[in-house]
């Protein structure tokens, strides 16, 4: 029934439009071409000016209104060391493009108004001006050069890989449909070898457990932790299709490609607690987190850094969320110490253990078969 009404409405509106069209044609004929052109010029000229004013005002007002929600503004200063550089580059570009945007729009719509058709006027026959062409070629070229130099400087610094002698943690993020497997290197600080052919239900990462570097590797739970101020190299890869490792507050983004490890190096400089205390100063973040529970915790209190996927990977692309908590070095150490080694807790001594039957130096002295450990991550106190 609704469908029928909608169809009838569409037909009715079409008829109305056609009639409007015919009426305007008739009145145009009655008025005569000159009068029609005079009216058209006047109306559209004024609307051009009106549009210009409303447009520019809307742009500035809306930008101001939403400012604090955008990354790099308000409480959303970058939580990583390199992030500030990227944000300031954005702002420099914004200033240049903003000036051009305003000036060209004023010129466009003001000239459209000023030089609108009027009777007994003639257009000036100006066909070109080579000097002007040189000026407005050179000036953009200079501005672009400035942006390029600044941009490539930043790019080559941010994207540079770590020096092996540097002090950093390497973790691995493996994207799959539709979640992330995050692997930490354990006390030896090195991620163990992987072979995708070894992937199985019990070995989602495809770790090669004949490599001793894998024996202490940790597969973390829903929340991952990082210590503030310490450089992190994220090794990024995917199992099935393209994904993308995206930490918005840290300005970290890199595709995860099956068969080709990629990386991103960054240093978190704000703990989750510090970021929350910034948010606390803004009214929109003091609203209740859950609209149905007005007395419950506020948005700033429950705010978490989040990992998202930023490359279309299938129908669950929008649901690959992971929490990241940045904490002090002490809190991180306490958490990390309690994270069990995946090999020891899940594989050692079982049928798919390639080292079954051998004695390894990681085995506890008192038993060949270790007792099953509690594998839930323990949260450090905040």
């Amino acid at each position: 029934m609704t469908a029928l009404i909608i169809v009838l409405c569409i037909i009715l509106i079409s008829i109305v439009l056609v009639q409007i069209g015919r009426v305007t044609e008739l009145t145009a004929q009655i008025k005569g071409e000159r009068e029609v052109m005079r009216d058209s010029s006047k109306w559209n000229g004024w609307i051009s000016l009106g549009f210009l004013a409303v447009f520019l005002v809307s742009v500035f007002v809306s930008a101001w209104h939403y400012k604090n929600q955008m990354l790099g503004y308000g409480p959303h200063a970058a939580a990583s060391e390199h992030g500030g550089t990227l944000d300031s580059m954005f702002n420099v570009t914004l200033i240049f493009t903003g000036i051009v945007f305003v000036l060209t729009h004023i010129a466009l719509f003001w000239y459209a108004y000023k030089y609108r058709w009027r009777e007994n006027r003639k257009a000036e026959f100006i066909s070109h001006d080579n000097r002007l062409e040189m000026i407005w070629t050179a000036v953009p070229a200079v501005v672009m050069t400035f942006l390029v130099v600044q941009g490539l400087n930043a790019w080559n610094t941010v994207m540079a890989d770590v020096n092996p002698e540097e002090d950093f943690i390497e973790i691995e993020a493996i994207g799959q449909q539709f979640n992330w497997i995050i692997r930490y290197p354990g006390p030896d600080g090195k991620l163990g070898a992987r072979d995708y052919k070894l992937t199985s239900a019990n070995n989602q990462v495809g770790q090669d457990f004949t490599d001793r570097k894998n024996w202490d590797d940790v597969i973390v739970g829903q929340e991952m932790y990082l210590p503030v101020g310490k450089k992190v190299r994220v090794r990024i890869i995917a199992k099935d299709v393209l994904h993308n490792f995206y930490l918005p507050q840290f300005r970290v983004k890199m595709d995860a490609v099956p068969g080709m490890p990629t990386y991103f190096v960054f240093t978190p400089i704000k703990t989750t607690a510090e970021y929350r205390s910034e948010l606390r100063k803004y009214p929109e973040y003091n609203e209740p987190y859950d609209k149905a529970d007005p007395t419950g915790p506020k948005r700033w209190e429950k705010y978490e850094y989040e990992l998202a996927c930023a490359e279309l990977c299938g129908k669950g692309h929008y649901s690959m969320k992971r929490i990241l908590r940045v904490v002090s070095q002490e809190e991180f150490d306490a958490w990390y110490k309690n994270e069990p080694s995946y090999y020891v807790s899940q594989i050692r001594g079982k049928d798919d253990d390639p080292n079954k039957g051998k004695v390894l130096d990681i085995d506890p002295v008192e038993a060949i078969q270790p007792a099953a450990q509690d594998t839930t991550a323990k949260e450090p106190t905040k």
Partner: protein, 618 residues
């Protein structure tokens, strides 16, 4: 109303009779069976004017389809809690109705909608519907040719496009759904049916449709290039060609050079899908299944795709730019400012468009070193684009511009191109792209510059050349309503996306980011965007009604040259037949931009130079 023969037309006839080019066309074609029945006149025609209109109407069909799809997914994004059960009669099983009777859009189909929306609008509407229409209609007429160099290949160009349309349309009805991996079709998602239902039969049909489309584009492109180079009338040297022809000509060269690379990319994808090859696949475990493909790289596809993909966006925008230059100049009664600079800009943009493709791949895992080159060239390409904007604004300066639907859309194009082009400067700088890649900032950029600016160029062309195509005018009041409404509405849709993008909201999220703390606070903004999209959609319906009604009942032309334009297409009879000119082909004595010269409002190209007069076309 009858055709009124003006003094200008009598003069034109005299000049063409004396100075025109006599190729004995009608002697050769006396008594031929060309276009002798309904089928060969209106359906399988080889006449470029009919073919152009066929491209236009098919393009309009797909524009409505693509826009309707966007309304459905915008409803999902703006009003995720709303009941979509009313769409079930059209979308069938893709709306899942729960026990409470609330219908929700299937996420897989959401991604199909987004994919097909992008595919059909970029290729079928803004390439075939824009280049295909206007290159076909205008090239022979404006260069002074009887038809294209090969009218038969030209007809095939349309019919391959039609076939591609049929295949794509049929893919919408598959039970596993149409292709859903994004119009960019990146493998492994697009190579592995196990990874997504939409990568099953839907992907195969998408590839077939695209292969047919590439054939169509190449057949058309070869014709356009050959016709412009070989069939110009006497006196029409390259520097006297209108900017429309320059634009269509260079666009065709871009297409001929880049479309085959897309074809190769999708063919290799087909091999990976069906023949066990590993061009794009390596070390994959999908759905618990370990695949034995090794050695390939998904990055290879991205290179092959974007090697076309970037020139493609210039293939879309250059014809629109050419049309805007022409429309502005004619209605401003003033030459296009800086004709030579405009031509050189088109050439610069075309050349540079081939060496910037990997700016779509900054975050794809390619060695960051090579991104340096792509940043440099991408930001360089901003320079000729800026030059063009300044030249258009200078065309309006000092003019006496007539406002009608065509010229208003041309002015609107300049506004949109400024807005959309400037955000490209952010995205082209790789360091800034780290943050903005795959967010709504990108969506805002390409929609403003393609989805609006290129469309505005297309509308300007349709309103301006509708009298040439159909011998009637479109209704100008409805056209102005269409313009102002769409200008305001389109900005209302896409401007806010800059903000969500700057907040980091990723694109291609079914729920718009609602499950992320960082992205979930744009509920009202998303509603605003959706409402604006619905309004703008209905304004396009106004346009379509105006278009089809005017074909049959629009105000008839009474003179051949209603706009007082200089170019040759206005010298044919109002309803030109096969061969365009009944007698001699006019020859060209001057460039096409003598508007307001020496006090004359316009001087057509066929009018000889006066004693001591210089031709500005040099």
């Amino acid at each position: 109303m009858a055709h009124v023969i003006t003094a200008a037309e009598t003069l034109e006839e005299k000049i063409t009779h004396e100075l025109g080019y006599d190729d004995h066309f009608h002697e050769h074609h006396h008594g031929d069976k060309y276009q002798s029945n309904f089928l060969t006149t209106y359906i399988f025609s080889t006449d470029h004017k009919i073919i152009g209109r066929q491209f236009l109407i098919t393009g309009i069909f797909w524009a409505l389809m693509g826009a309707a799809m966007s309304i459905v997914f915008r409803l999902q994004l703006g009003f995720p809690e709303a009941d979509m059960a009313w769409l079930q009669p059209i979308l069938g099983k893709w709306i899942q109705v729960n026990d409470a009777g609330i219908g929700k859009l299937d996420p897989e189909f959401y991604y199909s909608l987004v994919t097909i929306h992008g595919t059909v609008l970029v290729f079928f509407v803004l390439t075939a519907g824009l280049s295909g229409t206007f290159s076909n209609i205008l090239i022979p007429l404006q260069v002074g040719a009887r038809d294209m160099a090969s009218p038969l290949l030209n007809a095939f160009s349309y019919w391959f496009f039609f076939l591609a349309s049929v295949v794509m349309f049929l893919s919408l009805f598959l039970s596993t759904g149409p292709f859903s991996g994004g119009w960019t079709a990146y493998p492994p998602l697009s190579a592995l049916p196990q990874a997504s239902d939409g990568s099953a039969a839907g992907m195969t049909m998408w590839i077939v449709a695209m292969a047919l489309f590439v054939v169509s584009a190449l057949l058309g492109g070869i014709n356009y290039v050959t016709t412009v180079l070989n069939l110009r009338t006497k006196g029409m040297n390259l520097w006297r060609m209108p900017l429309t022809i320059w634009a269509f000509f260079i666009t065709a060269i871009l297409g001929v050079l880049s479309f085959p690379v897309l074809l190769s990319g999708v063919l290799l994808l087909m091999f990976d899908r069906s023949m066990g090859t590993s061009f794009y696949l390596s070390e994959i475990v999908v759905g618990g299944q370990i695949l034995d493909r090794v050695g390939g790289s998904p990055i290879l596809f991205q290179h092959l795709f974007w090697f076309l993909g970037h020139p493609e966006v210039y293939i879309i925008i250059l014809p629109a730019m050419g049309i805007v230059s022409e429309v502005l100049s004619v209605h401003a009664r003033k030459p296009i400012f800086g004709y030579r600079a405009m031509v050189l800009s088109i050439l610069a943009i075309a050349f540079l468009s081939f060496i910037v493709w990997a700016h779509h791949m900054f975050m794809s895992g390619v060695n960051p070193f090579i991104s340096n080159f792509f940043v440099v060239f991408t930001l360089i390409i901003a320079v000729p684009s800026a030059v063009k904007v300044f030249n258009w604004i200078s065309t309006i300066y000092g003019s006496n511009i007539r406002f009608n639907s065509a010229s208003l859309f041309a002015i609107g194009f300049v506004s949109m191109f400024i807005s959309g082009g400037l955000t490209g400067i952010f995205l082209g700088n790789s360091a800034i792209d780290i943050q903005l890649h795959d967010t709504y900032f990108v969506v805002a950029h390409f929609h403003i510059v393609m989805g609006i600016a290129a469309f505005f160029g297309m509308f300007a062309g349709i309103y301006h050349w509708f009298p040439k195509m159909f011998g009637r005018f479109m209704n100008d009041t409805l056209g102005k309503v269409h313009f102002w409404g769409t200008l305001i509405g389109a900005y209302a849709i896409f401007w806010p996306m800059h903000y969500t993008g700057m907040a980091g909201v990723p694109r291609r999220y079914y729920d718009g980011g609602a499950s992320f703390e960082a992205f979930r606070h744009f509920t009202e903004l998303n509603q605003f965007i959706t409402v604006a999209a619905i309004v703008v959609f209905f304004l396009q319906v106004v346009f379509v009604i105006n278009f089809f009604y005017s074909i049959f009942s629009g105000r008839k032309l009474t003179v051949k040259n209603p706009w007082g334009a200089n170019t040759l297409e206005w010298t044919t009879p109002i309803h030109a037949g096969h061969g365009n000119w009944p007698g001699n082909i006019p020859t060209v004595q001057r460039w096409s931009y003598d508007y307001g010269k020496g006090g004359e409002e316009f001087i057509p190209q066929y009018v000889p130079l006066k004693e001591g007069e210089h031709d500005h076309g040099h």
